[in-house]
């Protein structure tokens, strides 16, 4: 935790969780993660290390084979954004965003009004009626983000949300996420395989080993959030990115040459 934030009570925790599949064996763990209210944690690791699985555990979409998942947030207070926008092609942008509210029983008109505000939030006020097929990749991702935000979640889980986008779009979206975080302070867990992105977004970066994913290291990024304009060029940024890269390389090397 950065020193400038008071310690908040945990909103979710993974306690020595393991996920084992009948054929593949152990895919994750034992893995422990405490998520304090309002903090941003990045999970970095190679493909197949179980970082997405850890996210699904936090969301309650999967149950651990061993260990415990604690969730202080009630149903509807956790949102997920996946790697692909995952929009319903037969619904317009606003109707997609309104879906979580409508599923929870909110009348359609009220839900659509709130969806309109959420779209405005991500800079898509003019595309409320557009269908997913009419949107660019970056725009579709923003709609997906608006859908996650429309319920004002306490926990926001992002599963490589920018992986399919070009560098300029992903930087713009990262800044959008940070400015939304500055307003609403949800706890964010952010899965990525991009070290720079992790350091730019998160106050804590946790590096995971190749599958079965365990904790290989943790780096605290001691810089105020949201980030200052020149942050990517700062010494803090470069030092943190180097530490994370070394931890990652170390975890990969240990995998390649077992003792």
């Amino acid at each position: 935790m950065p020193a400038n934030l008071p310690a908040a009570p945990p909103v979710a925790a993974l306690e020595a969780v393991e996920i084992a599949y009948p054929k593949r064996g152990l895919a994750l763990g034992p893995f422990t993660l405490d998520l304090a209210g309002g903090e941003i944690v990045a999970l970095v690791g190679p493909s197949g290390c179980g970082k997405s699985t850890a996210l699904r555990l936090l969301a309650g979409l999967e149950t651990p084979s061993r260990g415990r998942v604690r969730r202080a947030a009630a149903r509807g207070e956790t949102s997920v954004v996946f790697q692909s926008p995952t929009l319903a092609p037969w619904l317009g942008a606003a109707a997609n965003v309104a879906l979580p509210l409508e599923l929870a029983g909110m009348p359609a008109r009220e839900a659509m009004a709130l969806a309109g505000q959420a779209l405005q939030r991500v800079g898509l006020a003019g595309s409320a009626a557009a269908r997913p097929a009419q949107l660019s990749g970056g725009m579709a991702m923003r709609v997906s983000l608006a859908r996650a935000l429309v319920t004002h979640p306490k926990v926001l889980l992002l599963d490589e949300p920018f992986a399919a986008l070009d560098e300029i779009t992903r930087r713009a979206l990262a800044d959008d996420v940070l400015s939304i975080w500055a307003d609403e302070r949800p706890a964010i867990v952010f899965v990525t395989h991009n070290v720079e992105e992790a350091v730019y977004m998160a106050s804590r970066v946790i590096v995971m080993t190749p599958g079965p994913g365990r904790r290989a290291g943790e780096t605290t990024v001691a810089a105020p959030a949201p980030r200052a304009p020149g942050f990517r060029a700062s010494r803090t940024f470069r030092a943190a990115a180097e530490t994370v890269s070394l931890q990652l390389a170390d975890a990969m090397a240990r995998e390649a040459a077992p003792p």
Binding site: R75, A88, L99, L103, A133
Partner: protein, 254 residues
Amino acid sequence: MRGLSRLAPWALIAVILALWELACRALHVPPYLLPAPSSVAAALIQTAPSLATAAMRTLAMALEALLLASVLACALALAVSLSRVLEQAVRPLAVGLQVTPVVAIAPLFVIWAGVDHPGRAIVALAAIVAFFPIFSGAVSGLASADPDLERLFDLYGASRGQKLLRLRLPTAVPFLLEGHKVAAGLAIIGAVVAEFVAGSGGAQGLAWRILEAGNRLQTAKMFAAIITLALIAASLHFAFQAFERRALAWWRGR
């Protein structure tokens, strides 16, 4: 270029018809073996009223069968998608019925429908043929929702009913459209095959006109009936294709 490629199929037809006409005249082909296009045209004009009635009859039976097949296939697909046990129970039966040639089971249906109602047997047989593309399209459509979207529905606490109405059914729409387009073509084929097997004039469809003219060696009339059949089958196909295209554009929003 665009106009040229649009004209090309008509030009080919014209060339084939001209060569055919010339060959018939030059080689003195007997008209019961191969009538010249001009005599086919004459037969078409001469028998137009009875062909039109027969075509309407065949089309009506095919559409009736399509409607029946659609209702049954959608209902069964829905039931199967809600119960795994039912799916496993139905699957081998469905495959068995699908691979059995319609010609083989047609006589059975003719007996069941009774000699006085050959139309019922024809509709039932055409419906069996049209059933499978709709059924299998509906079953795979109902099962092909985006798994991540399904996870989101779980995350937001959607009920089974909400998942069906707001996720599975809309996902199945393109599959259903494709299934109905294929089924429409098969319904015509099914109706014609069934009418051949029923073998009586009771149904008065196009297949009967073909059989009747064939038995009398009126080959030009046979050609006239076959052309009429091809025309209604093609129009039905294109009508469904246009509908599918429009409906898909609406579904995708462009």
